[in-house]
Symmetry: C2
Subunit: 264 residues, 2 copies
């Protein structure tokens, strides 16, 4: 049973994971961050000790959760001074489990598939947590930990997780960029982004029920040349957005065609 | 006071608008569609008469709402046989109000900024309705009609409406396509789109509070070359999606840079 955690990292994911674990009475024993202020800030939220020195890490946590940026994981591992039986996991979508090999006999991955900000608390109860482990006994421990937080616990291997992360980049980062572009288009004409918020909410709500193919509407789906050309003209001064408009429009039409053929 | 409506069109928008108006005790006197079955189907939902012949349109509705695809509006107008005082509006984002000039003395635009499907009922109560009219007295009538449906009634001219529609294409059609691409990426590896739904919901919820610039996370924002290259490799067999990935990643990075400079 995992009853307490040493958390390595104090960024967006680390912060929200720590808050969620604490709510479920799992103790955050200690927070590490290279940046002492970040470590302290999170430690204060979770009533934890903190350090900015990996050699001062508590030796007896039930699990060591590495929640730092991908490129820093290896450096963290190389500087850990833990007993080789200690359970270590990382939380990264795109990093294979094998990076942990050789640093412990008990290791795995604990990847919550969600977007996190330091300031915005999220409800973990339906967030998919993707777990992987080097041993069935470790897997069971991770499963129990995840079940404390969410109803959606998924055994996902490193290859699948990489695919999930790529898909998440489209569904989150790229989606958010479409919001950003629309906000900028409005701002240039002094129109209020508020006007788009109900549309944004409904667009996301729609695909909770319909498939994205069924949910699609608009000029690209119909390949309405008049509107498409008018829109491209309006983007004349923003060639980057014009390029995105062209490619995405083309891609929408192709995908709709492909699926209409499927039906025939 | 507008107490009843003749609705020209029976598509997604026409259907949801008719249902919403009826709920507010505004009578849908008659539904027209070129396709008799579509007209009948909607008329049955709203307890209305229906026709597929424009010359059979009731002569005495308080308002004639044209909710057909953009390219069909002019043809509808040319075939109307109404008294020149009758109030006519269209509902199109990208069509200027001036298209109605010469067909009546009282005209305007009634544009609900939302995505509609025939099958999915939407709550109109916070949907922005954008109105424009050729005369203050007409504007007042449209404002009163819109207030029946929503708290968000906005006077928006034809030029602004075109900009709104372009922004809506990014925030809805293009966003939905990012969902579609992510669904396809998962499907190719037999992973379940369900896994992305909480992320999709949170991504939309986040920008109800934070600006899209603040909400952005992920490899493009950090310009994490290792992950970006790995993702591009994974898309090798889908050059369209690879292109979208490159351009959007580049564009996210540029926009984040621009805004970080703003702050300095």
């Amino acid at each position: 049973m995992i009853e307490n955690v040493a958390l390595i990292g104090a960024g967006n994911l680390a912060t929200q994971l720590a808050i969620a674990l604490k709510k479920k009475d799992i103790k955050i024993k200690q927070v590490f961050s290279r940046n002492k202020n970040s470590a302290k800030e999170l430690a204060e939220k979770t009533g934890s000790a903190y350090t900015n020195n990996l050699s001062e890490l508590v030796p007896d946590a039930d699990i060591y959760i590495i929640a730092v940026k991908d490129s820093a994981i290896l450096e963290v591992l190389e500087n850990l001074q833990l007993n080789e039986t200690k359970l270590i996991v990382h939380t990264a979508g795109s990093v294979p489990m094998s990076i942990l090999e050789g640093f412990s006999n008990n290791y795995g991955v604990f990847y919550p598939l969600q977007t996190f900000s330091k300031s915005r608390e999220v409800d973990f109860s339906n967030i998919p947590i993707c777990i992987e482990a080097n041993h069935p006994s470790v897997l069971m421990k991770l499963e129990n930990l995840a079940k404390n937080l969410t109803i959606s616990v998924n055994q996902i291997n490193s290859d699948e997780r990489k695919t999930l992360h790529l898909a998440a980049v489209f569904a989150n980062n790229f989606v958010n960029h479409m919001y950003a572009v629309s906000a900028e288009i409005l701002q240039n004409k002094k129109l209020d982004f508020e006007l788009l918020k109900p549309l944004i909410a409904e667009t996301a709500a729609k695909v909770q029920e319909l498939s994205p193919i069924e949910a699609q509407t608009g000029p690209a789906k119909r390949y309405d040349q008049t509107i498409i050309n008018a829109h491209l003209n309006m983007l004349d001064s923003q060639p980057d957005y014009q390029k995105i408009y062209s490619f995405v429009t083309e891609s929408i039409f192709q995908l709709q065609q492909k699926h209409s053929h499927d039906i025939l």
